[in-house]
């Protein structure tokens, strides 16, 4: 399934092995602009590894990643954000000793235009840029309702809020494609409902394309346009959420072989 001309992200035959373990083995998919594409699979299926490959933390042993018609397989991790790809981390990777506001401002780094010399002299241009960054960050704060936490240090925030700040920081980079690595893990039912609404809003109002890894099947079913199931680094099934959930290979991967006959398709 080679991606069409219009695909935002096309992943072709992606593989990586750690030692003898093939963590990702021949995964191909393409993400169309404006859709929510979800990758599901049991623990250790290679979902997060796919994310790390796309955000260029890992170098694939074979395969190609094409974003907006440009091959990004050879780029470094720090060259990805300026292209318009932002990501969150499964286990929250915030800057703990900074405030929520400065965490989000760090998210604007890909858009900085000033050099360190200008920064040190704090020329009027730097101030103008700072104002513009702040304006963008405030939009994100308003969207994700983080006003109450603006000046709070990350280290003192509850888990649920940190999870939202993580999404906010990714949004602050002004991405076209947002990679969400288990956005609802560890959240309460209400909190993951909020996440579902935000994902819908990001898709509809901001026109973002979202690639998500998630275990919470309710959330997946609610927001996903298409779902890809993987197990042991191999693709199992692709289609709508309902199709994938009832696919025999998926049920087998989650529940074991004998379960296939007992669960009505």
């Amino acid at each position: 399934m080679a991606g069409t001309e219009t695909s935002l992200l096309t992943v072709t035959d992606l593989s990586i092995s750690f030692g003898g373990l093939k963590a990702v083995d021949g995964i191909s998919f393409d993400v169309e602009p404006g859709e929510v594409f979800t990758i599901v699979g049991p623990n250790g299926a290679g979902k997060s590894t796919i994310f790390n490959l796309i955000s260029r933390f890992y170098q694939p042993s074979s395969g190609r990643i094409v974003f907006e018609g440009r091959d990004i397989t050879g780029l470094s991790a720090h060259q990805i954000a300026p292209l318009g790809i932002a990501r969150t981390f499964q286990n929250i990777e915030l800057f703990d000793h900074s405030t929520v506001l400065s965490n989000l401002l760090m998210g604007r780094h890909a858009h900085r235009r000033t050099s360190w010399v200008e920064d040190m002299l704090f020329l009027p241009r730097v101030r103008a840029e700072e104002r513009a960054h702040r304006r963008r960050v405030e939009e994100v704060i308003e969207f994700l309702e983080l006003e109450a936490y603006r000046t709070k240090l990350i280290a003192g925030l509850p888990y649920g809020v940190r999870k939202v700040v993580e999404i906010a920081r990714a949004l602050a980079t002004g991405p076209k494609l947002l990679l969400l690595d288990e956005p609802a893990s560890g959240l309460s039912v209400e909190e993951s409902q909020d996440v579902a609404f935000w994902i819908e809003d990001m898709k509809k109002d901001m026109g973002l394309t979202i690639l998500m890894v998630e275990h919470d099947m309710n959330l997946v079913a609610q927001v996903s346009d298409r779902v890809l199931a993987v197990a042991n680094g191999r693709p199992l099934a692709q289609g709508s959420s309902a199709e994938v959930q009832s696919h025999p290979a998926v049920i087998e991967a989650y529940l074991g072989t004998s379960a296939t006959s007992k669960v009505p398709a």
């Binding site: 470094s76 990805i80 929250i92 703990d96 780094h109 960054h133």
Partner: protein, 361 residues
Amino acid sequence: MRFIFKTTYDRDIDLFEDNWNRIKIALLIVVMALLPFTASEYYLAEATNTLIWALAGMGLMLLVGHSGQVSLGHAAFLAIGAYANVALMNVGVPFVPAFIAAGIITGVFGAVIAIPAIRMSGIYLAIATLALFVIVEEIVILAEPITGGIGGIFAPEITILGVSFERYAALPNFYWLCLTTVVLVTIGYANLLRSPTGRAFLAVRDSEVSARALGINVARTKTLAFGLSCAVTGLAGALMGHALSFINYEAFSIFISINLLLVVTIGGLGFIQGAFLGAILITGLPQLLSILRDVSGVDTSAFPGFETLIFAAILLIFIIYEPMGLYGRWLKTRTFFDLFPLCRRDMFRRQKSYLKTERMR
């Protein structure tokens, strides 16, 4: 309790959050500038020494406190700054360009050193910088035509536009020179911290993985931090050379490196103010001890290593009971009175986060 009502984003971008802070800092600078008219020569020399240590402290603070890299070799950069300055002046370069060049030379040297050094972190980086210090010390001894070898070298007299800024002949002028340098560097440092460059330093310190995902070039940022840190330290070294007026390889010993680390840790890692508080403590404590000795009549010089013992004890007490340093203590005290009686004991307690992405390397 004061509450600052902000109406524009500029209030957050400004260096000072309100006029009250502006007035306080202006007052401090005025008092400092007027010090030569009130203080005796002895105390003025001590104040100069403290300023130079604060400058060197800021250099190390940028590296350790703000970009999260350790250096046990900063005495080497002090030495490079001092010798570069003296060498340039000895070939006829006037003080001001020689002084600035000493900073730039040390900065470039630091940035070059950083290229291999930034591949390491924590204890390995500390050992690598320590090794660098040993190498620089040897080079200082070997490069006799420039450094005077083991014999050492005298710092030439500073004259700017015909006016003497000599440490002994014109101490007030030398003091003002140090004060001006410290004020300018502090402004530049504070500007960096409120701009994208400073945020990139903090990002690299707290999570390299996230920093990369946000488009921060970690290697470049660390190299820049190393270079800037060394440049500031080089400036401090140049001034220190003139303050000592005679320098040899023993002037910049490993104890200077360790004392510098004490300045930033006791002062408060991650705060510019910490470098100043740490410098005041490190340079003031020996004076305080000798005053106590005179007052109490106990001759502590009979116990060699007594001062080192006191230093070590203070360091241990800080690491155990006040990891945020003197400035952290000040922040806590201020918050206590600001919020009185609502301050809670655990307001500043660090919440441990046990969830961290497995480092991807």
